[in-house]
Assembly symmetry: C3
Homo-oligomer: 391 residues x 3
Amino acid sequence: GSNGLLVRSADTNFVMNIHGYAQVDGRFYLNDRETANDTFLLRRVRPIIEGTVYDKFDYRLMLDVATGNVTGSSAANNALIDDAYVNARFFNQFQVQVGKYKSPVGLERLKSTADLVFVETGFATQLTPNYDTGVMIHNALFNTPVNYAIGIFNGAGDAGSDDLDVSDEGKDVVGRLFLQPFLNRDVDSLRGLGFGVAGSIGHHNGPLATYKTAGQQTFFSYSTTTTANGSQYRLDPQLFYYWGPFGILSEYVLSSQEVRSTAAGTPPNARFNNTAWQVEASYLLTGEQNTFKTINPLHPFGPVNGGWGAFELALRVQQLSLDKDAFPKYVTSTSAKEATAWGVGANWYLNRNVKLNLDYEATSFRGGSKVKNAVTAHEEHVILSRVQFSF
Amino acid sequence: GSNGLLVRSADTNFVMNIHGYAQVDGRFYLNDRETANDTFLLRRVRPIIEGTVYDKFDYRLMLDVATGNVTGSSAANNALIDDAYVNARFFNQFQVQVGKYKSPVGLERLKSTADLVFVETGFATQLTPNYDTGVMIHNALFNTPVNYAIGIFNGAGDAGSDDLDVSDEGKDVVGRLFLQPFLNRDVDSLRGLGFGVAGSIGHHNGPLATYKTAGQQTFFSYSTTTTANGSQYRLDPQLFYYWGPFGILSEYVLSSQEVRSTAAGTPPNARFNNTAWQVEASYLLTGEQNTFKTINPLHPFGPVNGGWGAFELALRVQQLSLDKDAFPKYVTSTSAKEATAWGVGANWYLNRNVKLNLDYEATSFRGGSKVKNAVTAHEEHVILSRVQFSF
Amino acid sequence: GSNGLLVRSADTNFVMNIHGYAQVDGRFYLNDRETANDTFLLRRVRPIIEGTVYDKFDYRLMLDVATGNVTGSSAANNALIDDAYVNARFFNQFQVQVGKYKSPVGLERLKSTADLVFVETGFATQLTPNYDTGVMIHNALFNTPVNYAIGIFNGAGDAGSDDLDVSDEGKDVVGRLFLQPFLNRDVDSLRGLGFGVAGSIGHHNGPLATYKTAGQQTFFSYSTTTTANGSQYRLDPQLFYYWGPFGILSEYVLSSQEVRSTAAGTPPNARFNNTAWQVEASYLLTGEQNTFKTINPLHPFGPVNGGWGAFELALRVQQLSLDKDAFPKYVTSTSAKEATAWGVGANWYLNRNVKLNLDYEATSFRGGSKVKNAVTAHEEHVILSRVQFSF
């Protein structure tokens, strides 16, 4: 079926589902002063095996074998495995999940990347950890009016993933509280409202994250003499609201990290607070119900049956601001102090398995190098397109 | 069954097939002056998931997890994924394929590597691109009397594969026209005749390909001061002919590339035209129908039922000629100007899933280093053996 | 079911089983002078496809996509594939296996890593090869009273794996004879007794192995000027004994290698004999039958049905002794001459698919650096925990 191969034992205590998805992107920069090349690329190619054993243990294994996703990874196969976890569901209000999976901080981060409204995630998501390894107690993340999660993880850096903590002993405590007060109520206009706050606190040493535009060009890096060294915390108030064909998702993230510099003439210890926010709205022209999860077209595309699939328009505004005190001594000379971006997108869901994205995003910078061909020397104007198929 | 696990929805609109194949090779060089080591190796290990969603969308995902196939790859996981594409088949004469797959240039290249007559592909195939990422319009490559394909790809180098274009903005336009005029006619002796021409034109910067013997020893490399820089084109007239147990496959390839040299005393810009041809004939002793596709033994091997499988003998002659003007300034001092090879092979198809290959190939060189232990100092005599199992 | 997805053709000539397992570990060092970090990690994540084609050909493909397993690998994807083999079973007493699989030397090595009693394998196992590529004739390794195996392999180093022999032409001849004289007899107390001897002999050049503690910290390395250069052999007498809930497994390994040193003032050629032994005992508190293979709890855990799974206690003592003549000229200054360890473990098998391990291991060293923070400066005390789920 449209959900891949699904097999169930007669008593339904054992379930296995083999499926997956692939994203083939085209990236085209509208001015040729860009340092990045126009390219086709495999952005994500993710075979998935998931299921249940002995009725109460859910597991999930998801690989990513695409090159386009290799960012922020130093360990050999680190980028290869995204999910590898088991969730013991003896008590719905007290589930225990162990392994590697998305650290429950960012809201857009917790969306399946197969369900993203825009081709690339936003600035706020860049300040949140990605797939991390650890133990979490929770009652599922979106299923009930009051969703909680608290866990201990290796502690991945901003937008980073982590199989193995090679750089420090410090672990992250991660917590999230998310409310959907009208989830089971008879108020159509409010049922799709969810809001909450998440955060992490821990201790990190080692390399620091870089930050990127929608076109995946790096506009901010710490200098090589600056490393993470000390406590880190994140705070992430977040909100979504879906009503009929309309949807909005917004979050703000503060990521604060103690660093150490070995450069001469630079105070060795400092703490920098980087912040980002994003607001993303979308509207389904063809009357489907908008949702945080997967959008299912009412009339799959087919010249014979006359269906056209679902069409969606989207708009996003976002900003990432680096700590002013980091400039100029702790950062590379090509780093911008702030990036502000807006984008528009048009999505065509041909059916449950095939989806096309077309985005235009414009990013402007404050600070950074103005040298010809520097990323920050001019606005970035990029067309991002995607063909996504799931199986 | 012999084609792996195949599941179909009741209405056949959804199909999933999980299968794959592995090749375990033995390479033995007949004189010990070779620089390469005799070795067992995993040449290809390829799990495959393919199928159809919503009746009209075919997809295919094929990984290669064997070390023996890691050639010409610089990007991290680039060698890991071969196929990742979706093909929209609303109109048979106008299919649209998007993703990563074999660039439709070389004829032998378009054969499944599970169906190769010889253990290693020929010289002409080395001048064609391998798996590339892009968009193609086509009416399938071998199914009709007139097969066309035209596409735009990142543009992989000779024998190269490509997930992501990191070295240049230039894209390749690739085209192929292949005729099988008697495919649906009542002329047995001509039904298996196919011929055509394919080519690519584009713009490339960056590293250039090296060329290898059947024994996978490099006999030609450009010097490190020479890089691709400018337009490239390929021309590939090609032909096969199958009649009963007999088969022949032949092609000629011209690969022409503008290069730039940064070496002192060398003209900075040049264009080099490298050419190769190969002729490969095979004969099935056990009466099976020879074909470009998979050979199916009439009587699977089994001591009980008395079957012996299928036996095939094969012969190949081939030559790769580098542009004379590249010597000596643009190439390494150990590079040969020309390699000429002949080989004989015996294949045993035990059943549809298990196949043994045994080849002997001899390669002689014009030019190149004559220093003791240099690859080009003497003829290469190599035994290549393979156990292939598919599932 | 609990063995993943198993499909069979109607005539049972074709079988395919898709399954796998993942191990999520926590490693915690009890004193903070350790150089290694406390960490969660994915130790092994192994999707498996195995089955039978044409009734007589068994195949198996097993990947390992976890970072935690990347040890001793230099080739790109070398660590990614563990098993890739086909076994022709026309005659049970004369089976032919080709591809990559565990070299039949070490006894604990031949245990599935999903069935390990302790989280990490023992010292003796470190002196045996891991997954190697070659051809083997055998009558299965544990199924009959007299089990033999003899094969030729590329020749992996101690604890090493091998897809492709890049460092030398030398191949290893590997042999094993293992007796279970009471396997089919009516003597309960002796039926689970097995003993035998295995060995390898070959020729190796290139990098030499390092040796590690249970906590995976390296306590012995040859210096970079010392490489393998010449003949190598291993001898491995081995034994297991299972009676009711009780089990013991013991082996001794001698690994002898000719080396070459390029250091000034050091004799260039030498042979070093490294030895190790381990004894491991386990007892199932909940009455299950102990076995070399998978332990199946009588009463799967579940608060509703009142089952608690199976509990096991385990004890291990082990020692690895390096050749005295290697000190100090052929080794790094931080290398210990001997490591002695003891460990206790408690395992909880919740059901056939979920298992928890908790080990404490203490390792003391003779020789090695006594500099603060050196691995060998003090005893290692480590807690190793694991959540394992199979599917």
